[in-house]
Amino acid sequence: MKSTLTGLSPGARAALIALTVGALCLAFGPRIPWLLEWPSSLTVPATDWIGAGLTWFIEGIKPAARVLSAALAYPMGWANVLFVSTPWPLMIGVVMATGWHLGGWSMAALGLAGLSFVLASGYWVESMNTLALVAVSVPLALIAGLAIGILANEVPSMKRAVQVVLDVMQTVPTFAYLTPLLLLFGFGPVVGLIASAIYAAPPMARNVILGLERVEPEIKEAAIMSGGARWQQLFLVEIPTAATQIMVGVNQCLMAALSMVIIAAVIGGFEDIGWEVLLTMRKAQFGQALLAGLVIVVFAIVIDRMSGALATERRRHDRRVTWAILGLTMLVTLVTWSWLPEAGQISLLAPVADGVDAGLSEFTKANGAALDSVKNGAMFYLLLPLRIGLDEAVLPFTWGFQWTANMSLIFFALSLVIGIAFSFSGRLTAGAMVVVFAGMIETGIANLPWPFVLAGAGALGWVAGGRRLAAFAMGALALILLSGLWDRSMLSLYLSGAAVFACAVVGGLLGLSAAVSPMAWRVLRPVCDMLQTIPLFVFLIPVLMFFQIGEFSAFLAICAYAIVPMIRYTRHGLVTTPPELLEAAVASGATPWQIMWEVRAPYAAPTILLGLNQTILYAFAMLVIAALIGTTGLGQSIYLALSEADVGLGIAAGAAMAILALVADRLVQGFAEERRAALGL
């Protein structure tokens, strides 16, 4: 076997190995049951161990944590008093003045428009509570991020470990570590604050690392030559030089903290805008939930634009105008305060919210049958076969006939013929892949035998990044196997896999259209912006109304979130092809489509792969929220753990999810790296 294999490309070898393992499992599975299902006697009670270990650990550091929690309650309380008791005209004035200071009239107008919307929504007090939370958690995250970044920069041997920790911080779903945080830090807003700081610190740390790496060696040398301790070089020279990049980190950190607001609300203890979204979501009031969600979007936009201005070089704006705005609003506040309505009493947009809600009802009523047939079509012909395979999904009342063993044989024979045809034309890898995919569709992702999944992941890893990556992928998946969470993980893998596939196809096409037509991009761009900042809970309501509880609804909810990076990166990759390349192609007489396929697409491949990578991470992140619709994978386990305060199950399920996401992430990054190397980038 080995001698024939050595002549092949790595891709072909990997595909053949996966194919062989799959065929062996299929052939011997019926006789050797442990091939198809990992024996439960060989799993370790990982959830219990993790639970016991963590409980012990938590008990140990709890006194310290409680002190920290009590200490944080003070700034939290101050920020709360500051934001809530500031009269609303004055608050609007302060934001406008800040806007002017950072970016002139356009920014001041943005601040005015944004806060006016918040005021009109009737959620002013709740919004100010939210801002208080963000105002305390962001500095915490910034300091932590800066410290982590400096640590990685100063101790090069730590860098790899730090990167892994950052990955874990971003891929373990926040819901998974809420329970331990509750046990550690007690109750109330402080827990939400810490959870959002954990989530918001990694982008800051990454940008600090990147910024310090990019400080030019000459500048460093100059700093060394002028003497001074290491900390002086760092704080007086290197960090100021890296300021622009670090400001990008500040911006990302703010956005991450804001997006965590809704998760923090699940714990409660705090009447913020996230709690309002949860309350309206509980009543399935779409209009009201959308309104509360849009308040968060508005904050995100204002904070993003203003902190984004920090990251770019800016011209100075007249200080006197800043003071004039502040003075004027102070005056207006003093004069009018006695007869101005309280912010909580204003709710100009309530009728709009009711209208949106009624519109949703009308739409559901009018299109019920059409929606049902869309759902049935997608379930019968797409999702069910993917999950449980053709042999179980094809039944008289779904496809109109029963799948038989003969059909399986014919199906396999056909795929073999196609595969052999491919390999005779020189594309052995493609041929083997056809057969592998045929086998996967026949069996269904949830029923895939574990040796095949391990071998497949290992083979992909080998092609994408060599032996190390293969070992990592297989080892990480083996951990899930041992933990006993394999079945649930495969369900999660199926659902997010289906969503990623759909996003890759649809998002890729949308990105392509946006690259070809600026008009399409003008329409798509605000949609993308909104999908990324609005709390996704809001969209669960219409999805549920249209398609009811079930996998299809969950699938759509995941797609709505995960498709955005695919669109963005595809477009970005396609429009940034260097002009010289395009000119050369035009000069050699290529048609526009030829240019797209032969020049732009290959050049954009690494960027598109990065988009795919982000789509995968987003899809996994969304699994937890999709569990609110009623899915049965790891997401559900995390909720179960949260409601039972089961530390072990929560962390184990969260870790399994992070493992799946990390393996997928490393594989795609490996391919992107390889493509980039092939293109000489």
């Binding site: 109330g188 203890g269 009802s361 559901t364 779904t398 549920l544 509880i549 079930g550 996998e551």
Partner: protein, 319 residues
């Protein structure tokens, strides 16, 4: 779960020192924190309790708290009482903490709750035998969907509330597959969509709930629930299975931090003795959720009009 024993003991001790003078009322200067959970009925019950405590002369603070996640906080004395706890859906953590003596059961709220299989009224036209449960056997295909074919679809409680729908479908040998909803919002969205599309729906639901009247929800008549049904397979229409009957009425009770009795003795008595009926709670929920009134106004008006319902409890504890 054995955590925080020392801290709670410390708190209780500190409380004991503080109440030296006014043994009856206790620490009136410190606010009693009542948990506000995620549903309107609970808000009403809690505000009624809060107003009663205020009438007795206490300071009251309402704190929002996740229903499932508040128990550790209560054990730590950071939240002092939760007025409406459903025994059918309570975190295991409560049992553990109660066994450790950190949180206490403060007695029945006497809110007569009902849980069961339910359907919006229009479904009776699609399955003519309803509300008799036997009709569901023949009607199952009407309720079938892509995920459940050939069986009917039964929308069950979210997985973290248990699986009462699936248990009963098995016990009664109903050809229904239970689909767990992910959240209460998902249950309501199902009711709303079914009412608007006039589509079939069988769902596990409970009252008091504002949606009962908003979507004209009717109960399926299942065999009367009894304790024997859940232990003795021979009991009920299916001789071979348990769970072949309706829900046993859920006990709804009040809970509190175990330190209340020492820190605020009169408040402990008020909370232990207060009750609230469905007849009182449901109209208030409607006024808040359907008419959009503020909870303070609605509860305030009810308190003023129904002194007889609550005043004696406060007077007995304070005079």
């Amino acid at each position: 779960m054995s955590m925080l024993r020392t801290t709670v003991a410390g708190l209780a001790l500190a409380a004991g020192v503080g109440m030296a003078q006014a043994a009856e009322m206790g620490a009136v200067d410190e606010p009693i924190k009542l948990a506000i959970n995620e549903w309107t009925g609970q808000h009403v019950s809690t505000h009624v309790a809060g107003e009663m405590l205020k009438a007795a002369g206490y300071k009251v603070e309402y704190v929002t708290a996740g229903y499932m996640n508040m128990w550790q906080a209560m054990a730590d004395g950071e939240v002092h009482a939760a007025i409406e706890v459903w025994s059918s859906n309570v975190s295991d953590q409560f049992g553990a903490l109660e066994a450790d003596g950190k949180v206490a059961d403060l007695g029945d709220l006497e809110l007569a709750a009902k849980e069961g299989f339910a359907y919006p009224a229009h479904v009776a036209k699609l399955c003519p035998g309803l509300p008799a449960w036997e009709a569901l056997k023949a009607c199952a295909p009407v309720f079938a969907t892509a995920e459940t074919l050939p069986m009917g679809r039964l929308v069950d409680y979210p997985a973290d509330w248990g699986t009462p729908g699936a248990d009963r479908a098995t016990g009664l040998e109903l050809p229904f597959k239970a689909v767990p909803a992910g959240s209460e919002g998902a249950l309501i969205a199902e009711l709303r969509a079914s009412t608007e599309k006039q589509s079939p729906l069988l769902i596990v639901f409970w009252q008091p709930h504002w949606a009962m009247s908003a979507y004209d929800v009717q109960w399926v008549e299942l065999p009367q629930g009894e304790a024997a049904c859940y232990e003795d397979a021979a009991w009920g229409p299916n001789p071979n299975a348990v769970n072949d009957c309706d829900f046993i009425p859920t006990r709804i009770f009040k809970t509190g931090w175990s330190g209340i009795a020492d820190k605020w003795p009169a408040a402990h008595e008020i909370l232990s003795n207060m009750t609230l009926s469905v007849e009182a709670q449901q109209p208030m929920m409607g006024a808040i959720d359907v008419d959009g009134k503020a909870i303070e106004d609605v509860v305030g008006a009810w308190m003023a009009e129904n002194e007889a319902a609550w005043k004696p409890v406060v007077d007995a504890a304070t005079q």
